[in-house]
């Protein structure tokens, strides 16, 4: 009888232990998984990659998985989460945040600082293209990994070089400059003129007889200087200002 009681006690304790594992949400500095979709190992993997990117490219990545956005829209929540938790590298707080909002079923990417320019709307669309299919399938680790991997490879030197090479702009600039230089070089002179008005002048032969400098009239005009009020609320198109006063870029998609 005592043996049976003992077994029951042990199994109850065992269940509690296992249960408590699930209740305890493992999170790292940059990976905030409030819904326990990710294992400790997966979180660590992501954190490591994020650290590498931060070190190499001065951009901080954040991943937030939640179903409670405190009544705010996905965009507002993502921006505020980033701002009020002090993420970001440098004076402009550069970085990206991926919000997986399980309540609205929206994936939202918020960009700050130099990431606004580099990860513009079309890039954000590309990221979402890669990430949302995984989310629809419920593969949250894969989605997060896709996010991190995309940012990493996009920042890599060779990728940037290749995309610069194959842009129409650089091809056109190269052709235009080459054309101008070739034309200039083709106007090769026959020779330099080294004769001026004095070459054949007899020494001391020049005499100035008449010198007149008569003042005729004078005019004064004035032009108003336009005080250049710097226009443009910085950051270009597609940006908005979060509640913290900082401007963010971003985009989202439902899954």
């Amino acid at each position: 009888m005592y043996k049976k009681l003992g077994f029951l006690l042990l199994s109850i304790i065992f269940v509690f232990l296992i249960g408590s594992q699930k209740l305890y949400a493992y999170e790292s500095h940059n990976v905030k998984d409030y819904l326990n979709y990710l294992t400790e190992k997966e979180v660590n993997n992501l954190q490591r990659s994020i650290d590498k990117i931060k070190e190499k490219h001065d951009l901080e990545l954040v991943i937030v998985i939640t179903d409670d956005t405190e009544g705010k829209s996905s965009m507002e929540f993502a921006d505020d989460y980033y701002d009020y938790n002090g993420y970001g590298v440098g004076d402009d707080h550069s970085g990206l945040l991926l919000l997986i909002d399980m309540n609205a079923r929206v994936a939202w990417i918020s960009t700050t600082g130099s990431a606004i320019v580099f990860f513009d709307n079309s890039k954000i669309d590309e990221i979402l293209d890669k990430v949302t299919p995984y989310l629809t399938d419920g593969r949250y680790y894969n989605a997060s990994k896709a996010f991190v991997n995309f940012v990493r490879s996009d920042l890599s030197y060779f990728y940037r070089a290749l995309s610069m090479l194959f842009s129409l702009q650089s091809i056109l600039i190269a052709i235009v400059i080459s054309l101008i230089v070739t034309i200039i070089l083709s106007i090769s002179s026959k020779g330099k003129v080294t004769v001026d008005s004095r070459t054949y002048e007899e020494a001391g032969g020049f005499k100035l007889d008449v010198v007149k400098d008569q003042f005729i009239r004078e005019t004064t005009t004035r032009v108003k200087i336009e005080t250049s009020s710097s226009s443009g609320g910085g950051g270009g198109g597609g940006t908005h200002i979060g509640s913290s006063g900082r401007s963010h870029g971003g985009g989202g998609r439902s899954f």
Partner: protein
């Protein structure tokens, strides 16, 4: 008296030519050197060039008897067969007797080097121009020149401005003062050169100027030996018209240069008078290379005293295209790889 004059070495009888480095005459065979006086006594023929001599286009080389055909203006030449230098006296007689000359200071080898260096820099020149055979064709020629002296009176009048700008408050102010400016003066010009040969392109001949007149000396036929020479086919009064244009520009520029302290100056009136023109006929040293490319003659001229070179280089379309493509590729690659470094 033969129509053709050859200068011979008193020691060995071979032909003697003027050496630009030594500024003396040198026998090509036994290397003896002679100055002008020694040469004159050796040849021992009184050449009275002030009287016109009968002119022919066909001569006989007194060394080998070959027939030399000279064109109307050739005055000194080489025998094609035995390379003997001949000076055609008739071409230097009467009104064709030059008064002055400047001797060659640059040797043929030096002239070749000058040309080689120059053509190397012209990257679009077809490669045939850089061939040795083409470069070897360089010839030293005494070119006929008219040297003019004249007195010039010039008068220019125009409007000049002095502009001042400053900023005060929100405004940028511009103050312009207008002046009527007059300058008048006269100048003497000496030995203004005008090329007297129709064969030599004036545009290029102008570019090898100036010669250093400190070295100018009286003409004597011996200097011609070893070089080609051409007599003039542009008469003095024709040449005078080119000279007038040149001198008008000289005096105008000179007067302009005395208008100082203004922001702008525009000439509204000018009057130039050239008078007291005197001219002298002179032989000036040049080296010529005449290259043919695609049915066009391209002539390069080197000043035989100073070494200054001028000429019109043809452009090979192939090289241009090759260069253009190559450059575009380099720029494209550096934009790609270099640009990625900074974004």
């Amino acid at each position: 008296m033969s129509a053709v004059k050859e200068y011979r070495c008193p020691n060995c009888g071979a032909g003697v030519g003027f050496d630009p480095i030594l500024q003396h005459w040198k026998c090509s065979f036994c290397n003896s050197e002679f100055n002008k006086n020694q040469l004159k006594t050796a040849s021992d023929i009184k050449d009275n060039l002030d009287e016109p001599v009968e002119d022919l286009n066909l001569y006989h080389c007194s060394s080998c008897g070959a027939e030399l055909i000279a064109d109307d203006t050739t005055s000194a030449t080489f025998c094609l067969y035995c390379r003997n230098h001949s000076v055609i006296k008739s071409r230097f007689s009467g009104r064709f007797k030059p008064e002055k000359l400047i001797t060659f200071r640059i040797t043929k080898e030096q002239a070749k080097d000058i040309y080689k260096k120059w053509i190397k820099k012209k990257i679009f020149a077809p490669s045939i121009f850089k061939n040795k055979e083409e470069i070897d064709k360089i010839t030293g020629v005494y070119a006929p020149y008219w040297l003019f002296d004249c007195i010039t009176n010039g008068y220019i009048e125009g409007q000049a401005t002095r502009v001042r700008t400053w900023t005060s408050g929100n405004y940028k102010y511009t103050n312009t003062k207008y002046y009527r400016v007059v300058r008048g003066g006269n100048s003497k010009y000496s030995k203004v050169p005008v090329d007297g040969s129709n064969k030599l392109d004036d545009n290029i001949m102008n570019l090898i100027e100036p010669y250093n007149y400190n070295a100018i000396t009286d003409f004597s036929m011996e200097y011609m030996s070893g070089f080609f020479a051409e007599k003039y086919d542009v008469e003095a009064h024709e040449a005078e018209m080119s000279m007038r244009k040149k001198v008008e520009k000289f005096i105008e520029d000179r007067l302009r240069s005395t208008v100082v302290g203004y922001s702008t100056f525009n000439i509204t009136q000018k009057s130039i008078n050239i008078s007291d023109c005197a001219h002298k006929y002179a032989m000036m040293p040049v080296y010529l290379i005449n290259n043919k490319y695609k049915e066009k003659n391209h002539i390069f001229i080197i000043n035989g005293q100073t070494g200054k070179i001028a000429g019109e280089t043809p452009i090979s379309l192939l090289r241009q295209i090759g260069f253009g493509i190559g450059l575009a590729l380099i720029i494209w690659l550096s934009i790609g790889f270099g640009g990625a470094l900074f974004v």
